[in-house]
Symmetry: C2
Subunit: 104 residues, 2 copies
């Protein structure tokens, strides 16, 4: 199993419309990716590790797939549509990474 | 539900003993945190979002708790022991953040 993590860095003053993200963006992404996407998790940053600090990421999203190839095959045909929806909820440029699940 | 994410930045040449981490560190952490810790997930970074790039994080660990207060109460008495074990598997300084689970 692999995870595609989409990490939105916390930036002072940068907005993120969580309502739109959960009600519209994520359902659209899941609909486009279809059965290849085995799960989706969304977390909103609350605090950093040290007292009184901000989180590194305002929002983290993790999408699960069986393999990197399964992700690429599902994502490629819809990449432009999915990316074009980002400005509808934030101006933050996400950091993306692919990881192998070692424990879940 | 909240998640405490422990993110180890990818650094060229920096080692990370995943075998020790999974077989010794994580079980020790779960044993110390007890029933307050509702789940643990570990992912190993494979690639960045763009072709041919490295992942931002070599390893990501996510620990689940009911509340921030439950995490703090469980972690504080064992913080020193848990932190002292880090050099046994890596020299990488982790980024820590607390997040609220919005979708799981």
């Amino acid at each position: 199993m692999i995870k595609v993590s989409v990490l939105y860095p916390h930036k002072e003053g940068a907005g993120f419309n969580m309502n739109y993200y959960l009600a519209s963006h994520i359902p659209m992404v899941r609909s486009k990716l279809g059965a290849a996407c085995k799960g989706a998790a969304v977390e909103q940053g609350v605090a950093g590790g040290a007292p009184g600090t901000q989180p590194a990421y305002a929002v983290m999203c993790h999408l699960s797939f069986d393999t990197v190839e399964a992700f690429q095959a599902a994502f490629a045909p819809h990449a432009a549509t999915i990316m074009a929806d980002i400005p509808n909820y934030t101006a933050i440029q996400p950091v993306i990474q692919i990881s192998e699940v070692k424990l879940s």
